[in-house]
Structures are given as structure tokens and as C-alpha cells.
């Protein structure tokens, strides 16, 4: 996955309508009209969302017929999921250490106060 494509993919995923479109496409190909149906949006609006997804490489469109059905491109999505997992791990691990760090800082502080009172 190219670097600029990664950024485009994340930007594309930032929108709930576009995530809805992807969810729908995970069940199979669909035309723009079919994709527009569940959303309260005009067809041009849906087309714009589809263009964003297409530019990001998250979907592709058939060459056949006027309807040019949309289909999901799964490889980039799996790449993105990998990042999310990695970032979650980074913070979970860091928060574990922060928890331990704060406990020892506090213990040291308490001990310091106790020693001072002696």
C-alpha cells in the first residue's frame, strides 16, 4: 500500500456513510442505486462518497454495463485493521506501564512523607 493511499484510505473511512457503504459491499456487489437506498442522500451525494472510496482503493467498479457495480477491495482494509490493532497494543502496553509507574511514584511519595515525620 502506497503512503498517500494509506492517508486517503483513512480519510475515506472517516465518514459513517462510507463505512455503511463498505459494510453493504461486504455482502456482495451493488450498484450505486442499491447503495443509495438505505441512506437519506441523493444519488450525486452517494456518487461522491463512492468516488472517495474508489480513489482510496477500498472499492473498485465493474467495467461492464452502465450500472458499473461496486465491489469491495479487501486487501487495503486488512492492512488498515493491522494498524489499528498495533496502535491499540501500543497504548494498552503503555497504560499498563503508566499504571505501575504511578503506583511506584505514589509509594515513593508516601514513604518520603513517612520518613519526614520520623
Amino acid at each position: 500500500m502506497q503512503a498517500d493511499q494509506i492517508d486517503r484510505a483513512f480519510a475515506a473511512l472517516a465518514d459513517p456513510t462510507r463505512r455503511g457503504i463498505l459494510a453493504r459491499l461486504s455482502q456482495g456487489e451493488a450498484t450505486v442505486n442499491e447503495l443509495a437506498a438505505p441512506f437519506d442522500l441523493t444519488q450525486p451525494a452517494i456518487s461522491k462518497h463512492i468516488k472517495v472510496l474508489e480513489r482510496a482503493g477500498l472499492i473498485s467498479r465493474g467495467r461492464v454495463a452502465q450500472t458499473r457495480p461496486c465491489r469491495l477491495e479487501t486487501a487495503p482494509l486488512q492492512g488498515l485493521a493491522e494498524w489499528i490493532e498495533a496502535y491499540r497494543h501500543l497504548w494498552e502496553d503503555s497504560f499498563e506501564r503508566l499504571d505501575a509507574h504511578l503506583k511506584s511514584t505514589q509509594a515513593a511519595k508516601r514513604k518520603g512523607r513517612k520518613d519526614a515525620r520520623k
Binding site: A3, E82, W83, R88, T105
Partner: protein, 177 residues
């Protein structure tokens, strides 16, 4: 929410919240002092060496992550907002030793910059830390495009990465199924 809600609201965010059994004063120090940050922040198994820490909007936390196998990755936080004992907003990315922004040093689809927004709240001597992270990049332009398209995009945002994860799960189930 403060004015910069716009910057994050439209993004698919990664959210993590944790209650620490420590007062806010200590927790804040742990996030803002170099020798404390390096004690806990970072990928597993690395030792953080702090090159600089300038806690102000536009300032950098620049650090080297050293791993046992001799590997070194440089990283940086570019601070955007600091509200003492309340909130820190920063852009996180990999960098070179000169603090210039770089792509991840490994093959993974990672956004060039990640916008992090962490808030702190104290209650009964415990501190709740909530972090929201969103990929940062082409987003502003995209938001602008879609804002001009229709003004109702504000509603329905606030979606979390969990929703995204759900979509991804559906997708990968389809792929392996």
C-alpha cells in the same frame, strides 16, 4: 467541547479510557515530564531516550526508541494544545534523528501522522485518562469537501473505531469465509 472539535469529530477514532489510581497532579506530571514519560510510554520492549521535550503548542517531544536487538526508531510528538491538568493534543509520528517527519520504519499501513487528544479528570484521588486517536492527513481537505456538499455531516459523527472495527470484522469474515 472546545473549538477544535471539528478537527477530530469527523474521524474514525480510536478511543481508550483508563482510570489510574493516582491523583491528577501526579498523572499530569507523568505525561509532561521527560524522565517520567520515558518510564512508561512507547512500544513494548523499547527503551526511550529523550532528545528534547518542549511542552508548548508547536513544541516537540523528540525521542529515540531503542530495542534490545539494536534497532532504533525515532519518534516525535508535535504538540498542538496544552491545557494544564486537563488536556493535551498532539500529532504523533515517526521521525529521523533531526526530528523531521518520516514514514513508519516497517511495512505496515500506518497513517503518516496520528492526531491524539487526551483528557484528564480527577475524582476521589483517581484520574480518568481518555485518549482519542485519529489518523491525520488528507482529512481536513476531505472534511471541507463534504462539508460543502451537505451541512448535516455533524450529526452521526462521534463514531468510534469500534464501529470501524465492526465493519472490518465483517469484511475479514467475508474474506476468510
Amino acid at each position: 467541547m472546545p473549538a477544535n472539535k471539528r478537527a477530530t469529530a469527523a474521524d474514525a477514532a480510536f478511543v481508550i479510557t483508563r482510570v489510574f489510581d493516582a491523583p491528577l497532579s501526579l498523572t499530569w506530571k507523568a505525561w509532561t515530564e521527560a524522565d517520567q514519560l520515558k518510564a512508561w510510554w512507547g512500544p513494548k520492549g523499547c527503551t526511550i531516550e529523550v532528545a528534547s521535550l518542549e511542552l508548548r503548542p508547536g513544541g516537540f517531544f523528540h525521542f529515540n526508541m531503542r530495542f534490545a536487538n539494536g534497532q532504533e526508531w525515532w519518534g516525535r510528538f508535535l504538540y498542538r494544545e496544552i491545557a494544564p491538568r486537563q488536556r493535551i493534543v498532539w500529532l504523533n509520528s515517526f521521525s529521523n534523528p533531526g526530528c523531521g517527519i518520516t514514514r513508519a520504519p516497517f511495512a505496515m499501513a500506518i497513517p503518516l501522522e496520528i492526531l491524539n487528544d487526551v483528557t484528564f479528570a480527577e475524582r476521589s484521588c483517581k484520574t480518568t485518562v481518555s485518549l482519542r486517536a485519529t489518523p491525520h492527513g488528507a482529512t481536513d481537505e476531505e472534511i471541507a469537501t463534504f462539508k460543502s456538499m451537505h451541512g448535516s455531516l455533524e450529526q452521526g459523527y462521534g463514531s468510534t473505531l469500534d464501529q470501524l472495527a465492526q465493519v472490518l470484522a465483517q469484511v475479514s469474515a467475508k474474506v476468510s469465509g
